[in-house]
């Protein structure tokens, strides 16, 4: 029987090598290892063996079965692998074809810039305050230290709605509004002094200008206001330096130049080192190395007074920046009207919001 088993094993293994499909492999298994297979047939003949031989042969049969099964499993795995590989090859796609495009919108560049500026100042403890675009002459001008017939009214031509109501020409009236509200709150609560203020106020403003590449009858400003005890002009410089570095990069320097706004004293233009040349002088900065980024100053005591803040106790600084001008520089856009025409081919440049 040993020889018989040995013969069967060899035959089966030889036979196995010739099997070329999973189907044939199954048939082979039935033929040699199945219930009616050849190995079983040999097992059936074990009854004729002696009691001593039976366990020995039984052991041998098991060994042969294990060996054949292992050989079978290996072959079967190889078949399956090959088959899967074939299927995977068939399933291959051209990965360079475009994906199924989920439409991606874009944020308007002006709003993107405003959001960035808001976030920088929020990080410095500022709140965002917003106010009406249709404003009283009082808040837009008088409370900002520009009485009727003041020569500074020449600086900005105004759209009036009535004699006393106008389209705000600047976001500065928000200074008067916020201070006025805080002062009123303090009076209502019986506080001796109103609370300190740190706000920025983005929004739309209007000037009676013909629209052209650099002028727009409507544009955006961002106003800033800090009022507290002991606010110094050096704080203005430090705050705006921090801001400039956040928005234009770490190496940026700022420079203050004396200027004039009716609602600040001293007043200053704030320049940052040119983003294009880094300060060495180029066409963008007309060779000066500096780019004007905003106007600022110490809040005029008359403005504090009118809004209910005692200028002998409080001081403050304010600043205002033009959003379009900054965005034009940031994105190298040459015509301000582009922001309001909303050509989606232009807007699609702003899909990334970083």
């Amino acid at each position: 029987m040993r020889e018989q088993l040995q013969g069967l094993k060899e035959q089966a293994l030889t036979d196995l090598q010739g099997q070329e499909s999973l189907q044939a492999l199954g048939d082979w298994k039935v033929k040699y290892l199945g219930k009616k297979g050849e190995l079983t047939a040999i097992l059936r003949g074990m009854g004729s063996l002696s009691a001593e031989e039976r366990p020995v042969i039984g052991q041998l049969v098991n060994e042969v079965r294990d060996e054949l099964e292992a050989a079978h499993d290996e072959k079967e795995a190889a078949f399956k692998r090959a088959e899967r590989n074939k299927r995977l090859a068939e399933e291959a796609v051209d990965v360079t074809l475009p994906g199924r495009a989920v439409p991606v919108g874009s944020e308007h560049p002006l709003n993107q810039l405003i959001r960035d500026v808001e976030d920088i100042f929020i990080g410095l403890g500022f709140s965002v305050a917003e106010g009406p675009e249709v404003e009283f002459d009082y808040f837009n001008f008088e409370a900002m230290n520009v009485p009727k017939n003041h020569p500074a009214r020449d600086m900005q031509d105004t759209f009036y709605v009535t004699e006393e109501i106008l389209m705000r020409t600047q976001t500065s009236p928000m200074q008067a509004r916020v201070m006025g509200e805080k002062a009123a709150e303090a009076r209502a609560k019986g506080q001796q002094y109103p609370d300190p203020i740190r706000i920025i106020s983005p929004g739309r403003v209007y000037r009676r200008d013909d629209d052209d590449a650099t002028h727009s009858h409507a544009f955006m400003q961002i106003e800033g206001l800090v009022v507290d005890r002991n606010i110094r002009m050096s704080d203005l410089k430090g705050t705006l330096l921090t801001f400039a570095r956040e928005i234009f990069g770490d190496g940026v320097q700022v420079r203050l130049r004396p200027s004039y706004f009716p609602f600040t004293e001293p007043s200053t233009e704030v320049d940052a080192t040119c983003h294009n040349c880094g300060g060495s002088g180029c066409r963008t900065c007309k060779g000066t190395g500096w780019i004007e980024i905003l106007g600022a100053g110490m809040v005029h005591p008359s403005v504090l007074e009118m809004a209910g803040y005692d200028p002998t106790v409080f001081s403050g600084f304010a600043f205002g920046m033009g959003v379009e001008r900054t965005a034009m520089r940031r994105y190298a856009i040459e015509d301000i009207r582009g922001f309001y025409q909303n050509d989606v081919r232009l807007m699609q440049n702003f899909k990334s919001r970083m």
Binding site: L97, A101, V102, P103, V104, G105, H108, N111, R115, I122, G125, F126, S127, V128, P132, E133, V134, E135, K148, N149, P151, A152, M155, Y160, V161, E164, I165, P196, R198, R204, R208, D210, H217, A218, D228, N230, R232, M233, S234, D235, G238, L241, T242, V254, R255, L256, R257, P258, S259, Y260, P262, E265, P266, P301, Y340, Q341, N342, V344, R345, M347
Partner: protein, 809 residues
């Protein structure tokens, strides 16, 4: 303000600095100087030539052959085409080897066979600004005064070797609208001495023979002085050159002096021909309504009582501070003048000029209110003495001065601590006093309560508070020396308000849904609503109008976003971008019933869609936008904002498709609407099917009020899902059936939704198939088939009873 560098050097020694260097210093101190103009545009070697004789060119009718003495030792033969050339004239002569502006080198030449050793020049050929020259000086050769020295360098002689700096003055620095102010500024910056004569004396103490009466509060001081026996003529060259350099047209020796003194000292002056002033009496008064007056420019003006005039007892002879009158004008026959030097109210001057459309150099100075009241009579004397000198006259006595309100110099107290606390600097007391003194401010030698007492000169009426002084100190000390610090104070919590956060989030949701954000103008055309069929909408057509719009197209404030967005759609479609999904978060304006109140400003979140919209893969067909694509976007936004339980109800409204528009509600809060534009609107705008939605920010805020996110524990027991598909009439809203399902299914129903919908040939005409998926669950146990079936049956019965629904197999 234009400043001639040569002229400037008459008053302060700055010859060691280039104009550019000085300009940079001024810029740093707050007076930007960006434009520097060389008056000599490129003349070298051109000299004064004497025309000795002229003869006709033998071969050319229009040419003359001239013999010229140009101081070169021998006479030159020069061919000249100017019609006005004549023997005896002194003219600019460009000799061989000289150059004219535009790199024009003069060479020996032959003109029609005749040799020419140079060229005689016109003012234009010399590169001069001919707009300011009298007409006869711009046609043909520039004829020089008879005493011009032959052979002298023409650029030297005409004072063209000069640079003009343009100072960009902010409105507060009208004190620098004259050389005196600029000189003090430079003296302070450079720490140099002012060499200017500022005090002048009358030759006799007897009052000058005119009577002055001030009858209006709009004039606080008026000085007058008579000069007699003068001869009106051209001004000497030096005076003309100075005026030309600063852009003023020379007129005659009287007017030129008044202009010269205005530029030198800042005081506008006016000269009247005294023979034309009745009774030698000057009256400063308000005009009468309807009074007429012919100004110097020959135009008859109708005046009103808000205007201030100079009059004699019979008539108006000038508009105070704005323009003189023709009837009192100095002309070539004038021999006696009365000079006026005064302070007129800034606002009145400004309003008069605006009302009459006039804007003179004098007016510019008066309306800024920065006239140095301490200089009024000095400037008058300066001008009278100079006119007497140049026009051969005689100053008659001393000025008559009438003062209604005297201007006192401002005196301010200032401590060093205040300065350093305000600026964050560490300036020393000496530095501070030094800066103030350099600016010409008087600082007391003693202190009161630790404060310096500073007397502000009358030429600086802009300095009225201590902070004004602090700015002066900071400017001259140098803004660059101010350190950078951060505010100390207590920390204040910053951040966005809930509304600002919501707005940001809405924008984010819409952008992530594939919409492009736009920003449009808030001014619209009054006709903007017409083509939307909304002209009769009372609320929308009640719009705020601008008093002086730039154009009809942008003359009213919008009440509706749709016209704005349609403009953007049309703009892009005209540029062949046909697939558009746009949104704007913008403001609309509703007038208050009380016109003295501000309008109500509301924020609208509006979107517009046209063409294809949605994801498209390779080889797939793009999908045209439809109602459900747009509603899906709206649903996403509302879900993203945490606003649930939103209902949509079909609505008919102007501008929108009557069968494809829904109002959006959360309970009784109206959130907005979504739908297709009315086909008539699409036709009017030449658009394919276009969809629009509008959400009201304030309502979204309200709908979110009291909202809290609580997370329910995840279910412990399995759910049982049951579907039900029914046939109903097409006009039955699925939303209504869902309501019925919710109440019929009882408390074991966890959720119900529409999951399929069909309308078409597979179902009978007039019917549609709607399939709902219902999820049943109990928090306490596993449900049995029987109890769910019982409830599901109730649902079917309710649908049958309520809508005539038939169960679909």
């Amino acid at each position: 303000m234009k400043i001639s560098y040569q002229w400037l050097n008459d008053y302060i020694d700055v010859a060691d600095l280039t104009p550019q260097q000085l300009g940079d210093k001024l810029t740093e101190a707050g007076i930007p100087v960006e434009v520097f103009t060389e008056l000599n545009q490129g003349i070298t070697g051109v000299v004064v030539g004497h025309v000795l004789e002229t003869r006709q060119h033998e071969n050319a009718d229009k040419l003359r052959v001239c013999t010229i003495d140009a101081g070169t030792g021998e006479n030159l033969q020069i061919v000249c085409g100017a019609p006005n050339v004549a023997p005896g004239q002194k003219v600019p002569c460009a000799v061989v080897g000289s150059e004219l502006p535009g790199d024009f080198k003069i060479k020996k030449a032959k003109l029609r066979g005749v040799e020419s050793q140079g060229m005689l020049c016109s003012a234009k050929e010399l590169g001069m600004d001919v707009k300011l020259l009298p007409k006869e000086q711009t046609e043909g050769l520039y004829i020089l005064p008879g005493d011009a020295p032959v052979g002298a360098d023409i650029a030297d002689y005409l004072r063209l070797n000069d640079v003009v700096m343009e100072l960009e003055l902010t409105p507060n620095r009208a004190d620098a609208l004259n050389y005196r102010g600029v000189v003090y500024e430079i003296a302070a910056i450079l720490g140099r001495e002012v060499k200017m004569v500022e005090e002048f004396n009358a030759p006799h103490a007897t009052p000058t023979p005119v009577t002055v009466k001030i009858e209006s509060d709009n004039c606080t001081k008026y000085s007058a002085l008579v000069v007699k026996g003068l001869t009106v003529a051209e001004s000497p060259l030096w005076l003309q050159a100075k005026l030309l350099a600063v852009g003023v047209r020379p007129i005659n020796n009287v007017v030129d002096v008044t202009n010269f003194v205005m530029f030198e000292l800042g005081q506008p002056l006016h000269a009247f021909d005294l023979s034309k002033v009745a009774d030698d009496t000057i009256i400063v008064r308000q005009a009468q309504d309807g009074e007429t007056h012919v100004t110097l420019d020959g135009v008859e003006r109708t005046l009103d009582s808000s205007m201030l005039v100079i009059a004699d007892p019979e008539k108006v002879i000038g508009l105070a501070g704005v323009m003189g009158g023709e009837n009192s004008e100095v002309d070539s026959n004038t021999t006696t003048i009365v000079l006026e030097s005064a302070y007129f109210d800034p606002g009145t001057t400004r309003k008069t000029g605006k009302a009459l459309g006039l804007f003179s150099e004098a007016q510019k100075r008066f309306e800024k209110g920065m006239i140095d009241q301490g200089m009024i009579t000095n400037a008058l004397l300066r001008a009278a003495l100079l006119i007497a000198e140049l026009a051969g006259g005689e100053v008659v006595g001393a000025p008559v001065e009438v003062v209604k309100a005297a201007a006192e110099p401002n005196v301010l107290d200032l401590t060093l601590e205040r300065v350093n606390d305000y600026l964050g600097t560490e300036i020393s007391d000496d530095e501070m006093v030094d800066v103030l003194t350099r600016l010409g401010f008087q600082v007391s030698g003693f202190k009161v309560d630790g404060a310096h007492r500073v007397t502000v000169p009358t030429r600086r009426p802009d300095i009225v508070r201590d902070v004004d002084l602090i700015e002066e100190i900071a400017r001259i000390y140098g803004y660059d020396k101010i350190p950078a610090t951060l505010p100390q104070g207590e920390l204040i919590r910053g951040g966005l308000t809930p509304e600002q956060r919501l707005r940001r989030h809405v924008r984010e949701l819409l952008i992530n849904s594939g919409l492009t954000e736009v920003i449009t103008y808030t001014f619209q055309s009054p006709a903007a609503l017409d083509r939307l069929g909304l002209a009769d909408d009372e609320q929308l057509s009640n719009r705020l109008a601008l008093m002086h719009p730039m154009s009809e197209e942008r003359s009213v404030l919008r009440t509706h976003m749709l016209p704005s967005l349609l403009e953007v759609v049309e703009y892009n479609r005209n540029r062949k971008t046909n697939d558009l999904a746009l949104f704007e978060v913008g403001r609309v304006f509703f007038p208050d019933n009380d016109p003295a109140q501000l309008p109500t400003e509301r924020t609208r979140i509006s979107g517009i869609f046209t063409g294809n919209f949605g994801p498209v893969g390779i080889g797939e067909k793009p999908r045209a936008v439809d109602f459900f694509a747009v509603k899906g976007v709206v649903e996403n936004v509302l879900a993203g904002l945490g606003i649930d339980g939103v209902t949509y109800s079909a609505v008919e409204m102007a501008s929108m498709h009557p069968g494809r528009t829904a109002d959006i509600w959360k309970g009784d809060i109206f959130l907005g609407y979504v739908g297709a534009l009315h086909p008539e609107v699409e036709e009017a705008c030449d658009l394919p099917p276009t969809y629009y939605f509008q959400l009201h920010l304030e309502s979204l805020m309200q709908a979110r009020e009291g909202r809290e996110v609580t997370v329910a524990a995840l279910p412990k027991f399995p759910a049982m899902e049951r579907d039900i598909a029914v046939l109903v009439d097409v006009n039955i809203p699925a939303g209504h059936m869902l309501g019925t399902i919710n109440s019929a299914a009882g408390d074991l129903l966890e959720s119900a939704r529409v999951f399929d919908f069909y309308q078409g040939p597979q179902v009978p005409a007039g019917k549609k198939s709607v399939a709902f998926r219902l999820v049943y669950r109990s928090p306490e146990r596993t449900l049995t088939d029987e109890e769910v079936s019982e409830r599901h049956n109730n649902v079917l019965e309710a649908l049958k009873a309520g809508y005539g629904a038939e169960l679909r197999a």
